[in-house]
């Protein structure tokens, strides 16, 4: 591996960290309508638990495949579903690039979501791993798949804002 290869690998780290940052702030800033744009047209987003993953159980808490379903998650949140207003604050770290070939990058990172209710109550709402497949698209990076693996199977009250 040449120095340049290393550099490129390291540069890729930075670009993926930037992608994660964009992803997270669009959620935490409540710009949810932009959330689908981090994914490819046919992208997959699922939220499941470590328990289900370990037991190879197929059903997720959230499963979106394709722009339509991403859009529907947000439109339902905006117009159909009832819940107490709250916001997320994401921490993300420990980015690991598992594989990177032909412009397809398989990566893993850890997240921690602190939820704040409108009256001010804060709690650690979720933590776990992002397992991602990221692809190059017109010079930008997009998620072809993001699997959110929650450490705990317990969800406090409900899950409506994507993680």
């Amino acid at each position: 591996m040449t120095v340049t290869d290393i550099d490129n690998g390291l540069m890729l780290r930075l670009r993926i960290e930037a992608l994660n940052a964009d992803y997270i702030h669009c959620i935490d800033d409540d710009r949810l309508e932009e959330w689908p744009d981090s994914f490819t047209e046919d992208g997959v987003y699922r939220v499941t638990t470590r328990e289900n993953a370990d037991l190879n159980l197929p059903v997720s808490l959230i499963y979106c495949q394709g722009r339509g379903m991403f859009h529907d998650r947000i439109s339902a949140l905006r117009t159909a579903n009832i819940f107490e207003p709250h916001t997320y604050c994401h921490s993300v770290s420990a980015l690991q690039i598992l594989e990177s070939t032909g412009g397809v990058h398989r990566t893993k990172s850890n997240f921690l979501v602190t939820r704040t209710m409108s009256e001010g109550a804060m709690m650690t709402f979720a933590c776990g791993r992002y397992l991602d497949t990221i692809v190059e698209q017109d010079g930008a990076l997009k998620f072809r798949e993001r699997s959110v693996i929650l450490e705990s199977r317990r969800i406090d009250t409900l899950l409506v804002i994507p993680i």
């Binding site: 939220v47 499941t48 638990t49 328990e51 289900n52 037991l55 159980l57 197929p58 059903v59 997720s60 808490l61 959230i62 499963y63 394709g66 722009r67 339509g68 379903m69 859009h71 529907d72 439109s75 339902a76 117009t79 159909a80 579903n81 009832i82 819940f83 107490e84 199977r153 317990r154 969800i155 406090d156 009250t157 409900l158 899950l159 409506v160």
Partner: protein, 415 residues
């Protein structure tokens, strides 16, 4: 007189002549909660424990709870399923501290007392002491020191346990209509497709009422009403066991015309609202009828659910007066093909903690709990469909099943 009686009934008298009104205090009172442990969960009820298919092999076990009481469900060497309290008879350690596993005997790590898979004490470590010193005296009789056992019954692949000798067999407990309705849903051998858990910041009874509350479904849930899963104008109705303890509420695709209702504007009916991708609303009629939604509740804390092709059991675990945990066990049939599995994966976006339909039931419970603190003497009112506990064919606009739940609560609590 039991000098350890912690649960002496509080000076609590039901404030109303029927169960169409409930005092908020029942949702927050510590003493009532302690009494519920004794008179409901350790009383004459069937507690849902797990599914047979979760412990398929001899030696398989799973831990669960009947509210505060930790329980082991295990399949013994004969294939029988036994349940016992997960508390060592010696000094009370958890015997099984892992959620599932396969074992040949139950051995407690603290002092190595060993029980068989029926909960009988097999051996006490160093029972003869060392060098003739210490150990047990002759008065000690293993037979008096087994794990506390539950009476177990299997029903349609589900495993139930009770602490009382008086509890009648499950099928009698449920009554004909519930049996028939559960048969309809659990029509074939099932397999587990996933688990979820939801922590509700509210008393367990608020969630149970929500399940029995056929009135709210089409009013709270936009997805129910707007996309025609449960709509007031759709056919169906509710049935209630003779005891009043259990109920089922079902909805059919057949529309019953009713202009007056068509006219009534409610938030939950948003005809202009559309999905871009409707795959998750797809419904394969797999149960031989056109029922879109059938909710069976079994007193005290079980729900057997069919919503379109979303099948599940929901086990509620009360955790103190102000919290409860709901365990969702998402089901499919053993013989599901790839397409059916894919359809269920899609459809399950509707249920669970993030379900487009079910998430809202998570929200309201906590809101009631917050107001319940305000003045425990005031009462909820349940006037829909009168004050009685009658089934209702063709309409779900009644609170009869909720009133039935409160009858069951009073029957058990002796209040």
């Amino acid at each position: 007189m039991d000098t350890l009686q912690t649960n002496n009934a509080p000076e609590f008298v039901w404030p109303h002549d029927d169960t169409s009104r409930v005092p908020y205090r029942v949702y927050t009172d510590e003493t009532l909660y302690a009494l519920e442990q004794e008179r409901i969960f350790r009383g004459p009820v069937w507690n849902y424990l797990c599914l047979e298919c979760e412990i398929p092999n001899n030696g398989d076990y799973k831990t669960t709870y009947a509210s505060d009481t930790p329980i082991i469900v295990v399949r013994d060497e004969n294939g029988d399923i036994n349940a016992m309290v997960n508390r060592c008879a010696h000094k009370g350690s958890l015997v099984c501290y892992k959620p599932r596993g396969n074992i040949s005997e139950l051995s407690c790590v603290y002092h190595n007392w060993v029980y068989n898979l029926r909960g009988d004490l097999l051996s006490v470590a160093f029972k003869r002491g060392v060098g003739g010193k210490g150990g047990l005296t002759d008065e000690f009789d293993n037979r008096q020191h087994g794990l506390e056992k539950l009476r177990v019954e299997r029903f349609r692949g589900m495993v139930f346990g009770t602490f009382s000798d008086k509890t009648e067999p499950v099928s009698e407990y449920l009554g004909e209509e519930l049996v028939a309705s559960i048969d309809r849903v659990l029509i074939k051998p099932v397999k587990v497709l996933g688990y979820h858990s939801q922590i509700f910041p509210n008393n367990w009874k608020l969630y149970v009422e929500n399940n029995k509350d056929s009135y709210h479904a089409s009013l709270l849930h936009v997805f129910h009403n707007t996309f025609g899963v449960v709509r007031p104008t759709m056919g169906g109705g509710i049935k209630i066991s003779d005891s009043g303890w259990h109920h089922l509420s079902y909805t059919q695709r057949t529309d019953i015309a009713d202009d007056q209702i068509g006219k009534e504007k409610v938030r939950s009916r948003q005809d202009q609202y559309r999905l871009q991708d409707t795959r998750m609303m797809e419904h394969r009629l797999e149960l031989g009828d056109n029922v879109t939604n059938s909710i069976q509740t079994v007193f005290p804390t079980l729900v057997v659910q069919q919503i379109l092709n979303c099948l599940a059991t929901r086990q509620l675990i009360p955790q103190g007066p102000n919290q409860s945990e709901l365990i969702w066990t998402i089901l499919g049939f053993e013989d599901d093909d790839e397409d059916m599995l894919a359809l269920r994966v899609q459809a399950n976006n509707l249920v669970g903690p993030a379900g487009f339909i079910s998430m809202e039931d998570g929200a309201v419970g906590g809101w009631v709990q917050r107001t319940a603190k305000a003045n425990g003497r005031e009462m909820t009112v349940m006037p829909m469909g009168g004050r009685t506990i009658e089934p209702s064919e063709g309409s779900r606009v009644t609170e009869a099943a909720v009133r039935g739940f409160w009858k069951g609560w009073r029957d058990c609590m002796g209040i």
